[in-house]
Symmetry: C2
Subunit: 219 residues, 2 copies
């Protein structure tokens, strides 16, 4: 384990996201390609790389938040009432593809993260994973219990009015796409101050025909 040698960059620290758009429409290709074009102005200094299953976006948290909000907001507008799902995976502290050797953290930038409202309300399932090592020294003596930062993030969701309930394995959020992304990006970055490798998964559902607050149960 190396000591920190100055502030890492988003690239050296492995800060980024993978995102995918799933318009449930015969127009899905037009909606996806149109949203990518619409969001290009918000791409800024981000590195992007389109894969078969999802698109990688690398850069700092403020740029990621702006781009993800622009992209998913544009897809929602272009879906024009059609059902749309979108998935986001955020990761920090494990650069590279196969290995995860960096030990310069835990480290996180500060400053308020914010995004302009998109005008589209979504429901989303959220999970947040502080990937501790079972060695307090490797986590800078931070939270010993991996559930602690998760519970703090759920409390924050309640305070900002986005909390819509807890299901098995996920927290359900409801609100403007921008507000949900702001909460999730802020929580993920915040946990990163105490734990080096932190990931978060977010699944949006927009314009769902089965939207209901009374789930069906079978057993």
């Amino acid at each position: 384990m190396e000591p920190a040698t100055g502030e890492p960059t988003p690239t050296t620290y492995g800060i980024g996201a993978r995102v995918s758009l799933h318009p449930m429409s015969a127009r899905f290709e037009d909606i996806i390609l149109g949203a990518l074009a619409d969001a290009d102005a918000a791409r800024g200094d981000l590195t992007t790389r389109t894969g078969v299953v999802s698109t990688f976006v690398g850069g700092d948290e403020a740029d990621l938040l702006a781009y993800l909000t622009a992209l998913i907001g544009a897809a929602a507008r272009r879906a024009d009432g059609d059902h749309l799902a979108a998935s986001v995976l955020l990761s920090r502290g494990c650069p590279g593809e196969v290995t995860c050797d960096l030990r310069s953290g835990p480290w996180a930038s500060d400053g308020t993260l914010a995004a302009e409202p998109t005008g589209t309300t979504a429901v989303a399932e959220w999970s947040l994973y502080p990937l501790l090592d079972a060695d307090p020294a490797a986590s800078a003596g931070a939270a010993l219990d991996h559930m602690e930062p998760i519970m703090a993030a759920i409390e924050q969701a309640k305070q900002v009015g986005l909390y819509d309930g807890s299901d098995h394995y996920v927290t359900r959020l409801r609100g403007d796409i921008a507000d949900i992304l702001t909460l999730v990006t802020t929580a993920w970055r915040g946990v990163g101050g105490g734990v080096q490798h932190v990931t978060s998964h977010l699944s949006f559902s927009i314009n769902s025909p089965t939207e209901t607050r009374t789930p069906q149960e079978q057993s």
Copy 2:
């Protein structure tokens, strides 16, 4: 922390999945409802609960594997060449919805997991998260480095011929839907022998019009 008192059940240990189907087709409702009906015969003793964003499925690993294979395989058949995405979240060792108090593990069943091939090839992005606490005693003195079981799982993917490459934050798999689900379910259960709380995320892409082995890069 309580000592183990006999073998837990899937319910008391919190073994289950969340799954969602995203057919990129105007027929998406028919494909989803038809696949759910087709897979009902494979539901067995599983508990299911349909939510707004995804469906919860609770039960043991063999039953989960059979059901997920039947469901996603049926959706792929009914998509009939149309583009289909499917997401699976596996979780174990954290029962309940908000809290995660159980400390009866780590524990995992044994026995070979297998599923009949579906005949449909998919590409999938896979991540596996051993959620250690920074306290070796809470993890039964198991892997101190959270990357160790992840690297072992990737090695297993290579051995069975499903490994298609590593991208940022995910491992890419390619093969029959059943074989991918068997690998991922087996790896997730296996890590559970040494770490109580383990989750895994899997995003399938089937019949993608942009399927290519040469990703586009922009920076």
